[in-house]
């Protein structure tokens, strides 16, 4: 009986230890959508009944842990967040909506996330939504060097009262290769992709 208890305790301890050993996971997708096996899940919204927009600050998903981020990377992520959030405000205002902080019945919420994916368009076995760091590390270095990284923009429009998703867009900016200057990734290397993402956001919100 005593031997059984010791054996059981040992097995349980080993199981917990093994689980703990495998806790460090690779970069994951943002989690905006349930399924990242396909890009074909966009919904064009019908915003005819909405007058106001609440803009949630853009989530920049660097896929580099906080303790490993350099000062310049942290600044770059903040720059991306600020730039896009500001431009969303401009798009929303230019489209005739009022920006608000309240969740009223004629309000929709604009949520979005920016991350990077490694692409290999000619490889049908490769998941084109495989996340990669926004920045250089040993895993991402070659992908950036060989121009296999693209910006992934995700957007979700949510009714402020019901919480229903009324529009969504997941887009890989395929035509915009991320080109490096030397060994650093900077905001300027991403600006073209970010601006093309803004065009997609604008197309979804405008002309409703």
């Amino acid at each position: 009986m005593k031997r059984q208890i010791i054996l059981t305790a040992l097995i349980v301890s080993l199981t917990i230890f093994i689980s703990a050993c495998s806790k460090e996971a690779p970069a994951i997708n943002t989690g905006f959508f349930k399924d990242y096996s396909t890009t074909k899940q966009n919904i064009k919204p019908n915003l005819a009944t909405y007058k106001k927009v609440k803009i949630v600050p853009v989530a920049v998903i660097p896929a580099i842990t906080l303790e490993k981020q350099t000062v310049s990377q942290k600044k770059m992520y903040k720059d991306i967040e600020n730039y896009l959030t500001k431009e969303y405000t401009n798009i929303v205002t230019a489209s005739g909506y009022t920006v608000t902080n309240k969740a009223d019945k004629d309000t929709f919420i604009l949520e979005s996330a920016i991350s990077m994916v490694e692409v290999h368009p000619h490889d049908k076995e490769w998941n084109q939504l495989t996340p990669i760091a926004i920045g250089l590390d040993v895993v991402s270095f070659n992908a950036y060097m060989y121009q296999n990284v693209r910006l992934l923009g995700e957007m979700r429009l949510v009714d402020a009262i019901s919480g229903h998703v009324i529009g969504r867009n997941l887009s890989i900016l395929k035509d915009n290769k991320i080109l490096l200057d030397g060994d650093n990734l900077e905001f300027k290397n991403l600006k073209l992709s970010l601006d093309n993402w803004l065009k997609i956001v604008k197309a979804n919100i405008q002309n409703q």
């Binding site: 080993l14 050993c21 460090e24 690779p26 970069a27 290999h120 076995e125 040993v138």
Partner: protein, 156 residues
Amino acid sequence: MKKLFLFITLVFVNLQANTIAVNSSIVALDKYSYETPQGRPMKVPHETQIILIAFEKDTGAIVNNFLNAQNKYYLQKNKTIFIADIHRMPSLITKMFALPKMRKYKHLIYLQYGKEFENVIPHKEEKITVMHLAHGTIMNVSYVSNAKELKASIER
């Protein structure tokens, strides 16, 4: 008897056809799956010029110890990748000891878990396979057994 001989010949030819050797394209390596010690899927860049492959614990240790003493981008700067075939390692040992250790290395490792890989890659006991490529084609296959030879192979 003739049919048996023909069958054996066909199997042999088929095996040879699948072997990755001099004049093989790097694309042949796309057939196999690789991931980092953290579990991220990886693809062998077709621009790679040197591929290091280790099949044993000790040869893997030679490569890892050498690379761990270099700059973390040493492999990338030399257009080199390192594949460690660990399919023979018991899974308990892999999860409890090998992976936690490999996750601490600052260099990139492509882990290969499949059984087939060993059958198609030329290798010798207690040696590290080194493939040199040009424009996506394997130009040379050699074998090294220590850090000094490894360094010379990469930096030649």
